[in-house]
C-alpha cells in the first residue's frame, strides 16, 4: 500500500517546481506552463485525498480545475496574442511599461 | 436627563444658529453675481449673529448646567445622539464666532475677487463648523465638526492665500490632522471605557483608571496642543497665519486657536482629573516656554503677519497657563483671554489685511511714518497694540492679569516667568508700531508717492468698530463676560477638586504602567 503522504509530498514537490518555473523563466509560455504544472500538482493531491477519504469531492474538484484550466488557457493565450500584436515579445523581463 | 436644561425657546435655537450658515452656503450655490453673493453672505452671517442673541438674553447665569439643550437620536446603533447645548464656557465663543464671521465677510468685500462664490461658501461652512464645535455635547458630533472645519480652512489658506499658500495649507492640514486622529483613537477608547456612550456629560461624570486617564490625556493633548498651538507644536501657525487671506487669518486667530484650549476645558480637565494633576507641570512649562519663546521670536520678525502670528503663540501660552492653573481666576482669565485674543488679534489681522490691500507688502521695513499718512488707521492700530500688550482699560489686561494671578497662585515660579512675557510683549508690539507708524514716512506711500495709501473708509471702520468697542467694554466692565462663566467654571473646579485622589499620583501611575 502506498501511504497518502507519498502522494502529497510528490504533489508538493511538483508544486514547488511549478513555482520555480513561474519565477525563473523568461518565456511567458513556459511561465504559463509552470502554472499548469502547479494546477496538476494540486490535482494529484486532490485525487489522492479523494481516494483515501473515499470521497468524490476531490475528483469533482479536479474535474472543475481541468475545465477552468482549459478556459484559462484560452483566455491567457488570447491575451498573449493580443499583447504580441502590439509588442512582439513574450519575454517576461521585457514587459515593464507599467511600473513604479 | 435631569442635569441639563432643555431648550426653552419655541424653536431649536442652537440648531438654527449652527446650520443657518450651511443653508446659506447651499443657496450660494445657485447665485452667480459676485456682489449678490457678498450681500447674501453678509446677510446670512448677520442673521446668524442675530439668531444667537436670544441665547444671551435667556441664558441662566446662575447654573452650571447645559442650556438650550437639544437631544435627538442620531446613530442609535452606536448610541450616538445629536446632542447640543451650551454652558457658560461655550456661550461666549458662539458670540465671538458669529461676530467675527460678519467681519470676515466685510473685510473680504474688495480683497477677494477670485472664486468669490467658493470663498463665501468656505466662510459659511467654516462658521457652521466652528459653531458646531462649541455647541456639541456628544463627542462624536464634536469630532465631526472639529475635523470638518479643516476642509474650508484648508481651502481658504490654499486658494486665496499668499505666495507660499500651498505649503502653508498642507502643513496646516496635516499638522492638525495628525493631532486629531490620535484624539479619534482616544475617543473610541473612551467610548468603550464609558460603556458605549460618547455623551460628554456622562463621560465627564465617570471615573477612569489612572492609567487610562494618562493615555487618553496624551491622546487628546496631541489634538488640542497642536490646535492651541503650544510650543513646540506651533510652527504650522506662522505659516498658516501669514499665508492665509485676511478672513482666514482672522478666523484662525480668532476662533480656531481657541478650540484647543476649549478642548482642554471641555474634555481633558473634567474627564481626566487625575491625569490633569500630573500634567499640570509639563503644561505649565510648555506654556511659559511658549510665552517667552513666542515673544522673543517676535522681536526678530520682519514680516507683519508673522509677527502677529508668533505673538499668538505667546498669548495662547497665557491661555493654557491660566487654564491649567486650575483655579477660578486662572480658568476664567484663560477663557476671557481667549475671547480677548480673538478680538484683538482678529482685529490686528483685519487691519493688516486692510493695509495689505493698499501697499501689497507685509515687510515691516517697507512701512514707516504711517501715522502721518493714515491717522485714523494709526489711531485704531495703537488701541489694538495696547490691548495686545495688556494695558489696563483694555480687555487684554483683565485676561492677562487674571491668568497671572491664577498661575501665581498655583505655581509662583511660573507666574513670575510668565509675567516677563508682558515686558517682551510691550517690546515687540511697540517696536512694530514705531517702525510702521512713526519715524519718517516712506515717500513711496505719501500722497505724492507711487502707491498712495488712503485712510480707512466707512466699511472698514464699521468692520473694526465692534471689536474696538469690545476692547474697552471688556476692559472696563469685564463682568459682562465673566458673569457668564462663573458658575460653569466653579462647577468644573469643584468636580476636579472632589475627584482628585490626592498626592502621589505620579508614583501610582508609574507603578501601574510598569
Amino acid at each position: 500500500m502506498v501511504p497518502l503522504s507519498w502522494y502529497i509530498v510528490l504533489s508538493a514537490i511538483v508544486f514547488s517546481i511549478g513555482v520555480f518555473g513561474f519565477l525563473a523563466r523568461r518565456n511567458l509560455i513556459i511561465v504559463f506552463m509552470s502554472v499548469e504544472l502547479m494546477l496538476n500538482s494540486v490535482n494529484i493531491s486532490l485525487v489522492a485525498f479523494s481516494h483515501y477519504l473515499q470521497s468524490m469531492r476531490g475528483q469533482i474538484l479536479v474535474f472543475f480545475i481541468i475545465t477552468v484550466a482549459a478556459a484559462e488557457a484560452a483566455i491567457g493565450l488570447a491575451i498573449l496574442i493580443a499583447f504580441y500584436r502590439n509588442n512582439p515579445t513574450i519575454k517576461v523581463d521585457e514587459i515593464n511599461l507599467l511600473k513604479g | 436627563m435631569e442635569n441639563v436644561i432643555f431648550n426653552q425657546l419655541s424653536y431649536p435655537v442652537l440648531t438654527w444658529t449652527v446650520f443657518l450658515p450651511v443653508i446659506g452656503a447651499v443657496f450660494l450655490l445657485f447665485m452667480s453675481s459676485a456682489q449678490v453673493i457678498r450681500i447674501a453672505t453678509l446677510f446670512v452671517t448677520i442673521a446668524t449673529f442675530m439668531l444667537s442673541f436670544p441665547l444671551f438674553k435667556q441664558f441662566d447665569k446662575t447654573t452650571h448646567m447645559m442650556q438650550f439643550v437639544e437631544r435627538h437620536e442620531w446613530i442609535p446603533s452606536w448610541g450616538i445622539h445629536y446632542f447640543i447645548g451650551i454652558d457658560g464656557i461655550s456661550i461666549l465663543f458662539i458670540f465671538l464666532t458669529t461676530l467675527l464671521s460678519i467681519l470676515c465677510v466685510l473685510v473680504s468685500w474688495k480683497s477677494v475677487e477670485n472664486k468669490v462664490k467658493e470663498f463665501h461658501i468656505a466662510i459659511l461652512t467654516m462658521e457652521a463648523g466652528m459653531l458646531g464645535v462649541f455647541v456639541s455635547l456628544d463627542f462624536f458630533l464634536f469630532y465631526i465638526f472639529w475635523e470638518a472645519m479643516l476642509i474650508p480652512m484648508f481651502l481658504l489658506i490654499g486658494v486665496w492665500g499668499g505666495t507660499q499658500r500651498v505649503y502653508a495649507a498642507i502643513k496646516f492640514f496635516l499638522y492638525t490632522l495628525v493631532g486629531s486622529v490620535l484624539m479619534l483613537v482616544g475617543i473610541v477608547v473612551l467610548y468603550f471605557a464609558a460603556g458605549r456612550t460618547l455623551d460628554i456629560l456622562v463621560l465627564s461624570s465617570l471615573q477612569y483608571s489612572l492609567k487610562l486617564q494618562f493615555w487618553l490625556f496624551l491622546a487628546f493633548f496631541a489634538a488640542f496642543a497642536v490646535k492651541v498651538p503650544m510650543f513646540p507644536f506651533h510652527t504650522w501657525l506662522p505659516d498658516a497665519h501669514t499665508e492665509a487671506p485676511t478672513a482666514g487669518s482672522v478666523i484662525l486667530a480668532g476662533v480656531l486657536l481657541k478650540m484647543g484650549a476649549y478642548g482642554f476645558l471641555r474634555f481633558s480637565i473634567p474627564m481626566f482629573p487625575d491625569a490633569t494633576r500630573i500634567f499640570v507641570k509639563p503644561v505649565f512649562i510648555l506654556s511659559v516656554i511658549g510665552i517667552i519663546y513666542g515673544a522673543l521670536v517676535c522681536l526678530a520678525q520682519k514680516d507683519l503677519k508673522r509677527l502677529i502670528a508668533y505673538s499668538s503663540v505667546s498669548h495662547m501660552g497665557f491661555v493654557t497657563l491660566g487654564i491649567f492653573a486650575l483655579n477660578a481666576q486662572g480658568v476664567e482669565g484663560g477663557i476671557l483671554q481667549m475671547i480677548n485674543h480673538g478680538i484683538v488679534t482678529g482685529a490686528l489681522f483685519l487691519m493688516i489685511g486692510m493695509m495689505y490691500e493698499r501697499t501689497h507688502t507685509r515687510v515691516i521695513a517697507d512701512y514707516g511714518g504711517f501715522a502721518t499718512l493714515v491717522p485714523w488707521y494709526a489711531g485704531l492700530f495703537i488701541i489694538l497694540t495696547f490691548a495686545s500688550i495688556g494695558l489696563p482699560g483694555t480687555n487684554g489686561f483683565i485676561g492677562e492679569f487674571l491668568i497671572l494671578f491664577g498661575a501665581f497662585k498655583a505655581q509662583k515660579l511660573y507666574g513670575v516667568l510668565a509675567a516677563t512675557g508682558v515686558i517682551l510683549g510691550a517690546g515687540y508690539m511697540l517696536w512694530l508700531y514705531q517702525k510702521v507708524f512713526w519715524e519718517k514716512p516712506n515717500p513711496d506711500y505719501a500722497a505724492s508717492g507711487h502707491h498712495h495709501v488712503w485712510d480707512l473708509d466707512l466699511r472698514e471702520v464699521i468692520t473694526l468698530a465692534p471689536l474696538i468697542i469690545l476692547i474697552f467694554w471688556i476692559g472696563f466692565y469685564p463682568e459682562a463676560l465673566l458673569s457668564f462663566m462663573h458658575s460653569s467654571v466653579e462647577h468644573m473646579l469643584q468636580n476636579l477638586n472632589t475627584r482628585v485622589a490626592g498626592e502621589g499620583l505620579l508614583a501610582q501611575l508609574i507603578t501601574e504602567i510598569f
Partner: protein, 640 residues
C-alpha cells in the same frame, strides 16, 4: 458721589471729544475743551480738599470691576488727606500747564492731539491718586505710562522721540512687572486689594515667609520690594532711571507736567500710600532709602556736566525724586509728600521756564549755544532765579522747607539715616552748582548762538509767562505749610494734616542738631552757588581746564556713567541677537521646522525608494508573492 467721580471724568470727556473730533472739527480750538475740563477738575478737587479738611474721608465704590472666584476688585475712590493733597497738586499744575501749552504748542500740527493726550493724562493721574485699591491704582499707573509714551513720542517723525517713547514704556514695564506681582501677592496675602482692608490687616503678614527657589523670604518684605519695583520704574530711580532724560524728547509742557511735577512722583505716592506695609519691613525701608539716596547723588553728579538744558533739569528731577525716596526710606512719609508738593511747583517752573527759553531760541536746547538771555527775557529770567533759589534750598523759599525736613529726618534715622543725610547734603551741593551753572550759561554772558537766532530773541507771550508767574508764586509760598517746629510752633501743618494717613515721623533730636543740619544745607547751597559763580562768571576758562584735568571723570559723568551703553550691551543687544539668530534662526527654523519638514521628507524619500520595488516585471511580482507566502509560513508555523 458724582462730584468725586467727575474729578477724573471731566478730563476723560475732554480726551474723548478731542481725539474723536479734534482732527476734523475742533482743530486749533482744542484747548477750549481741555482747559475748562481740567479747571473744573481743579475746582472739584478743591471742594474735595475742603471736605477732607472738614474731616471726611471719602471712600466710594462705583462698580465691581473684576469678579472671579474670591477675587473681587471694585472701581472705587478713596479721598483722604494724602489723596487730597495729590489732587490739588495734580489739578492745579495741570491747569497752569494747559494754559501754558496754548502758547507753547500754538501752530503745531498735532495741537488737538496734544490736548487730548494731556487730558487723558490728567484723567489717568487722577485715577491713580484717587484709587481705593491696588488694581485701580495699577490702572492709573499704566495709563499715565501710556500717556507718557504718547507725549514723549509726540513728534513721532523724529526717530529719537519715537525711541524715547518706546524706551520709557518698556523700562516702566520692568518696574510694573514687579509691581503687578506685588499686587497679586497682596491679594493672596490679605484677601483683598482695597487699601482700607489691606492696611488694617497689615499685621497678619508679619512673620510669614514665602518659598522662592528654595529660600524662605519674608513675605512682607517681598511684597514691599515688589511694589517698590513699580515705584523705581515710574519715578526713574536707579537702576531704571534711564528713560527719564530721554523723555525730554517730548514737548516741554509735557516734561514739566509729567516728567517733573506729577507722574514721576507716583512712585513716591505709592510708597507713601503703602506706608503701613513698608513700616513693617526694615529691609524694604532701608532699600527704599538707599535707592533714594544713591539716586539723588548719582543723578546730581550727572547733572553737573550736561549741556542740554532740559536734561540738566531732568537729572535734577531724578535727583530730587531720590530725595523723596530717601525720606520715605527713613520713615518721613509726610516729608516726602511735602517735598513732592513743593518740588511740583519749582520743577514745573524750571521746565516751563526752559520751555520759554527753548521756544525763544526755536528749539535750541544746548546751553553752550545760549547765554546772555536775561536782557531779552526778563520775566523768564526772574522766574528761573526764583525756581533756582527754591530748589537749591535758600531759606524762605518752598524748597528750603521740604528739603530741610527730609535731611533732618534722615539725620535722625539711625546709622543708615546718617549716611543718607551725608549723601543728601552732598547732592544738595551739586544741585546748587548745576542749577546756577544753568542760570549762568543760559542767561549770563554773551549770546553764543547764531546771529539769526539772536535776531529773533524775544520774551514769550503772556499765555506763557502768566502761568510762569503763578508757578513762581507757588515756588515761593508753597513751603509755608510745612515750617519746621523749630522755627514756629505747629508750623508743620502739612505733616499734621497727613498724619492720619502717614503717621508721625519717628525720632527726636535736639534743637542744636537741627540747627546744625539746617546750617549745613544752607551752607552747601551757598557753596554750590559760589563755585558756579566762580567757574562760569568770574573765570570762564575754568570749566574747560577742570574738564581736561579730570577728563576720565568728566567723560564718565558726561556719558551718564555709561548705563545706557551697559544695558544695551548686556541686555538689549544680546536678547535681540539671541532671538534673531538663536531662537528664530536656529531653533525655530532649523530644529522644530527641521523635524516638522524632515519627517514628511523622510516619508517622501521612503516613498520614492519603495516605488522602485514595483519594477513592472511580472516575475518580480510573483517573487514578492511567493516570498510573502513563504515568510508567513516560516513566521507562523515555524517561529510560533
Amino acid at each position: 458721589m458724582l462730584k468725586y467721580t467727575l474729578i477724573p471724568l471731566l478730563p476723560l470727556i475732554s480726551f474723548i471729544i478731542n481725539i474723536l473730533f479734534g482732527r476734523s472739527i475742533i482743530k486749533s480750538k482744542a484747548h477750549w475743551i481741555a482747559i475748562p475740563a481740567v479747571a473744573g477738575s481743579f475746582v472739584l478737587a478743591l471742594s474735595a480738599f475742603m471736605d477732607v479738611m472738614a474731616g471726611n474721608v471719602i471712600n466710594i465704590n462705583v462698580y465691581t470691576w473684576i469678579l472671579s472666584g474670591n477675587f473681587q476688585v471694585p472701581v472705587g475712590f478713596l479721598i483722604d488727606q494724602l489723596t487730597a493733597i495729590m489732587l490739588i497738586v495734580v489739578t492745579s499744575i495741570s491747569t497752569l500747564i494747559f494754559i501754558y501749552s496754548v502758547g507753547y504748542m500754538h501752530g503745531d500740527g498735532g495741537y488737538y492731539r496734544f490736548f487730548a493726550y494731556l487730558s487723558l493724562f490728567v484723567f489717568s493721574m487722577l485715577v491713580l491718586v484717587m484709587a481705593n485699591n491696588f488694581l485701580l491704582l495699577y490702572f492709573g499707573w499704566e495709563a499715565v505710562g501710556l500717556c507718557s509714551y504718547f507725549l514723549i513720542g509726540f513728534w513721532f517723525h523724529k526717530k529719537s522721540a519715537a525711541d524715547a517713547g518706546k524706551k520709557a514704556f518698556i523700562v516702566n514695564r520692568f518696574g510694573d512687572f514687579g509691581f503687578g506681582l506685588g499686587v497679586i501677592l497682596v491679594f493672596l496675602t490679605f484677601g483683598s486689594l482695597e487699601y482700607t482692608q489691606v492696611f488694617s490687616n497689615a499685621n497678619i503678614a508679619l512673620g510669614q515667609t514665602i518659598n522662592i527657589l528654595g529660600t524662605d523670604v519674608d513675605l512682607i518684605t517681598l511684597i514691599c520690594l515688589l511694589l517698590f519695583c513699580g515705584a523705581v520704574g515710574k519715578s526713574a530711580q536707579m537702576p531704571l532711571h534711564v528713560w527719564l532724560p530721554d523723555a525730554m524728547e517730548g514737548p516741554t509742557p509735557v516734561s514739566a507736567l509729567i516728567h517733573a511735577a506729577t507722574m514721576v512722583t507716583a512712585g513716591v505716592f505709592l510708597v507713601a500710600r503703602c506706608n503701613p506695609l513698608f513700616s513693617l519691613s526694615h529691609t524694604a525701608m532701608n532699600t527704599v532709602a538707599i535707592v533714594g539716596g544713591v539716586t539723588a547723588i548719582f543723578a546730581a553728579s550727572i547733572g553737573l556736566v550736561q549741556n542740554d538744558i532740559k536734561r540738566v533739569i531732568a537729572y535734577s528731577t531724578v535727583s530730587q525724586l531720590g530725595y523723596m525716596f530717601l525720606a520715605l526710606g527713613v520713615g518721613a512719609y509726610s516729608a516726602a509728600i511735602f517735598h513732592l508738593y513743593t518740588h511740583a511747583y519749582f520743577k514745573a517752573l524750571l521746565f516751563l521756564g526752559s520751555g520759554s527759553v527753548i521756544h525763544a531760541l526755536h528749539d535750541e536746547q544746548n546751553m553752550q549755544n545760549m547765554g546772555g538771555l536775561k536782557k531779552y527775557m526778563p520775566v523768564t529770567y526772574a522766574v528761573f532765579i526764583i525756581a533756582t533759589l527754591s530748589i537749591t534750598g535758600i531759606p524762605g523759599l518752598a524748597g528750603f522747607f521740604s528739603k530741610d525736613e527730609i535731611l533732618w529726618r534722615a539725620y535722625l534715622g539711625g546709622e543708615l539715616g546718617r549716611g543718607m543725610w551725608l549723601l543728601g547734603t552732598v547732592a544738595a551741593l551739586m544741585t546748587a552748582f548745576y542749577s546756577w551753572r544753568l542760570i549762568y550759561l543760559t542767561f549770563h554772558g554773551k549770546f553764543r548762538g547764531t546771529h539769526e537766532k539772536e535776531h529773533h530773541l524775544h520774551e514769550s507771550p503772556k499765555v506763557i509767562t502768566v502761568p510762569l508767574m503763578f508757578l513762581a508764586v507757588g515756588a515761593v509760598l508753597a513751603g509755608y505749610v510745612g515750617i519746621p517746629p523749630l522755627l514756629r510752633e505747629h508750623g508743620d501743618r502739612i505733616g499734621e494734616f497727613l498724619a492720619p494717613v502717614l503717621g508721625h515721623p519717628q525720632g527726636e533730636g535736639s534743637h542744636s542738631e537741627e540747627l546744625m543740619v539746617m546750617g549745613a544745607s544752607i551752607f552747601v547751597a551757598l557753596a554750590g552757588w559760589g563755585v558756579a559763580y566762580m567757574m562760569y562768571v568770574k573765570n570762564a576758562e575754568l570749566p574747560k581746564k577742570i574738564g581736561s584735568m579730570f577728563r576720565p571723570i568728566h567723560n564718565l559723568l558726561y556719558n551718564k556713567y555709561y548705563v545706557d551703553e551697559l544695558y544695551s550691551k548686556t541686555f538689549v543687544q544680546p536678547i535681540l541677537k539671541m532671538s534673531d539668530k538663536v531662537i528664530l534662526g536656529f531653533f525655530d527654523a532649523k530644529i522644530i521646522e527641521g523635524i516638522v519638514n524632515g519627517v514628511p521628507n523622510l516619508i517622501g524619500a521612503f516613498s520614492r525608494q519603495f516605488r522602485k520595488v514595483q519594477t513592472g516585471l511580472l516575475s518580480n511580482y510573483g517573487l514578492a508573492m511567493a516570498l510573502g507566502a513563504l515568510a508567513i509560513i516560516g513566521y507562523v508555523i515555524f517561529m510560533r
